[in-house]
């Protein structure tokens, strides 16, 4: 069963009296454990799709389903719960909470829910994540004391903290040099393999999309290519 389903999704933004058609009937599925790259030039609709899957925006028409649940009609509280439990976010500008250190930033999403893990279990999991992203020596540093690559590693660890089924990454390497960007992608790939977490990231860098096993190419709000290389993904080619 697809973990993400988009069915004839349209998204129109209204800028004054003008209508901007960001998506013009997008349909695709993403399977559990996919490492998906959504590619396309600026304005093709990549970020809009991530916003819709991330439950921080709603389609003008069409259906978005996450784990079989249509996001349309859910209350703000239900959408927030879904974002908290099912989704993780990695942002282009890292978006760490500036007053918190590395450990606290990763811990933050774990403290938001009611059903938190025990203190010991939480600490061990956070320390595992910090170790996994290679920041054990920077655990108590704040974001302004870290490089761009280090910040994005913290963001990856934070996105994985609640053990979400899907991690959304909006151009995660855009603000990084190519070497660091490559290492970040490697890290995401590693976590994808270790935790079987579905990663969906947008990019317009053609070199980066080669790492993905499922590529969705967009142009002017339409899917122009939906290709899979992962044998286990099944379904469409």
């Amino acid at each position: 069963m697809a973990i993400v389903e988009l069915e004839n999704v349209h998204k129109i933004y209204y800028l004054g009296k003008a209508e901007v058609h960001a998506l013009r009937g997008v349909t695709f599925d993403i399977e559990r454990g996919d490492f998906v790259s959504i590619v396309g030039p600026s304005g093709s609709g990549k970020s809009t799709i991530l916003n819709l899957i991330g439950c921080i925006d709603q389609p003008t028409s069409g259906t978005v389903r996450i784990n079989g649940t249509a996001t349309a009609g859910l209350s703000d509280r239900e959408l927030t719960n879904m974002r908290h439990k099912t989704l993780g976010f990695i942002f282009q500008s890292f978006n760490l909470i500036p007053v918190l250190n590395v450990y606290e930033n990763i811990e933050f999403p774990l403290l938001l829910g009611r059903d938190r893990p025990g203190k010991k279990e939480m600490r061990e999991w956070i320390e595992y994540l910090i170790e996994a992203v290679g920041l054990a020596d920077h655990m108590h540093h704040r974001s302004n004391e870290l490089s761009g690559g280090q910040r994005q590693r913290v963001a990856i660890a934070r996105a994985l903290a609640t053990k979400p089924e899907i991690v959304l990454a909006d151009e995660p390497t855009a603000n990084l040099d190519s070497k660091t960007g490559h290492s970040i992608l490697e890290l995401m790939k590693k976590m994808n393999a270790e935790l079987n977490t579905t990663f969906i990231f947008s990019t317009h860098d053609m070199n980066i999309m080669s790492v993905a096993d499922h590529v969705i190419r967009l142009l002017d709000g339409l899917v122009v290519e939906d290709s899979r290389t992962k044998a286990a993904a099944g379904g469409r080619p």
Partner: protein, 494 residues
């Protein structure tokens, strides 16, 4: 909660400019509030303590009236038209008062205002309290400092002249008044006409704790004050005549009657024009039983019965007991609190406090607006951060609590610093003492000097105000955030 506190505390520390602006406003505002309210509380409690202890007691019983009746008479527009009512059935009332176990002392008083003159020269005016020395001193043992002479003796008449009044009079005559000197006291009202009494000064005194109003008060024997207040058994009221008497009068030629009266009294009127008062007319009846009745003092007539309780906690009970007693006996009397009895000065002090509180309210509103604007700017700067929190699973309630907590933390710290600063200012003011340099400050201070102390009520009020200011200030910025979707909030980071 821990993460909320951590974020709130670190944001307060990190956003130095915002913290400095809001903090400074709050510290100054709270300091002004604490100092001002403590100042007013000290003055008010001083006024209350001194008035109850020295002038009014806890309660004042008077005849029933709707006017603003004080120990100084009516203090409203009816003052000239309305006579201070006497307490009906005084003997019963005072007996009941003395029977109450929580009543410590009672003191009856009459009151009149009089112009003071010597010979034909008007020197000034004084308010007169007609008192019985023993009872007065028993009720208020510490309020009078005798400077010369003393009270009049039992069964005697006299006036104990206030030093402040004496000094005013002395400026006119150019010499110092001494016990044994005599002064003319004249009162006038539309109800009783003009009344004059010549009274000997038995002493000069001053009230130990006084103000501009009390500086005008001299103490006089009850008999003379009653006369000046028109409280005599007989009066100039129209006589009730029988039909036969009216017929008899009808036969009299009025022109002849008044013609003969003029010729009969012409010389007297020319020589003593000022004496055309009750005393003058009563003098015409001299030697007759009617004259005796008409000029007889109404010894049971009192304007006020002042009551000091053993403890202030009995105040409500006393008011209720007297109300029941008056209702049961059908006595047209009422109780009034010390503030009503004290009159304009005490009321003015409380009025000034109200003005101060209004000023504080205006300051609070201005503070709220400034703090709110600062918070809006701060929140706008942090939209991306808040959007991120919402995106990764923070509910609206979490964000709301975070903003309110930040504001409250800042308000709380500023409030405590403000209270501490206010306490320090009050400590210094208490040590140096504030002298009243003019009448205005004397009214505010409730006396010639004020040593303000930090009052608990002002601290509590300050904390309530700071919480309210914090809550109101954060309401709009919070609403602003709540209306913003996580997407909009995050777009700023793209």
């Amino acid at each position: 909660m821990r993460i909320l506190l951590t974020i709130a505390w670190r944001n307060v520390r990190q956003q130095k400019v915002k913290t400095a602006i809001i903090g400074l406003i709050m510290v100054i505002g709270i300091m002004v509030l604490v100092v001002g309210n403590s100042f007013m509380d000290t003055a008010a409690s001083g006024i209350e303590r001194y008035y109850i202890k020295n002038y009014t007691g806890h309660l004042m019983i008077t005849g029933k009236t709707k006017g603003a009746l004080t120990l100084f008479g009516f203090q409203d527009l009816t003052a000239l038209e309305q006579l201070v009512p006497r307490i009906p059935d005084y003997a019963e009332v005072v007996e009941f008062a003395r029977s109450l176990p929580y009543v410590e002392a009672v003191n009856p008083q009459v009151s009149a205002a009089a112009v003071v003159s010597r010979g034909e020269r008007t020197l000034g005016a004084t308010q007169l309290f007609g008192v019985v020395p023993d009872q007065y001193q028993s009720m208020f043992p510490d309020n009078v400092e005798i400077l010369e002479g003393g009270f009049w003796g039992p069964g005697e008449q006299g006036v104990l002249l206030n030093k402040a009044v004496a000094e005013l009079l002395e400026q006119e005559v150019g010499f110092t008044f001494r016990p044994g000197d005599r002064l003319l006291f004249t009162s006038a009202s539309t109800q009783t006409g003009m009344r004059i009494r010549e009274v000997e000064i038995t002493g000069i005194f001053r009230f130990k704790q006084s103000n501009v109003q009390l500086d005008m008060v001299s103490l006089m024997d009850v008999s003379n004050v009653r006369a000046l207040a028109g409280m005599v058994v007989g009066s100039a009221d129209p006589a009730e005549l029988t039909g036969e008497e009216r017929n008899l009068l009808g036969e009299i030629d009025e022109e002849n009657l008044f013609g003969s009266a003029e010729s009969l009294f012409a010389e007297v009127i020319v020589e003593e024009p000022a004496a055309a008062d009750d005393d003058f007319w009563f003098s015409l009846l001299e030697g007759t039983p009617a004259a005796e009745e008409a000029t007889a003092e109404d010894t049971g007539a009192w304007h006020f019965l002042l009551i000091r309780l053993k403890d202030e906690k009995y105040l409500k009970q006393a008011e209720a007991d007297f109300a029941s007693f008056f209702a049961e006996k059908g006595i047209a009397a009422q109780t009034r609190g010390w503030r009503q009895g004290a009159g304009a000065m005490a009321e003015l002090s409380y009025g000034i406090k109200s003005v101060f509180n209004t000023v504080v309210l205006i300051i609070a509103v201005v503070a709220v607006i400034i703090i709110m604007n600062t918070l809006v700017i701060s929140i706008t700067e942090r939209m991306s951060e808040i959007g991120t929190m919402r995106a990764i699973g923070a509910q609206k309630s979490f964000v709301r609590r975070m903003i309110v907590l930040e504001t409250m933390l800042l308000s709380g710290i500023s409030g405590l610093v403000g209270v501490a600063a206010g306490g320090l200012v009050l400590f210094i003011l208490n040590r140096i003492g504030l002298k009243a340099t003019n009448v205005f400050f004397e009214i505010i201070y409730g006396g010639p000097e004020l040593r303000p102390t930090l009052s608990l009520s002002s601290v509590i009020l300050s904390l309530v105000v700071i919480v309210a200011v914090g809550a109101v200030s954060s309401a709009y910025p919070t609403a602003l955030v709540m209306r913003t979707s996580p997407l909009k909030a995050m777009e700023s980071s793209r």
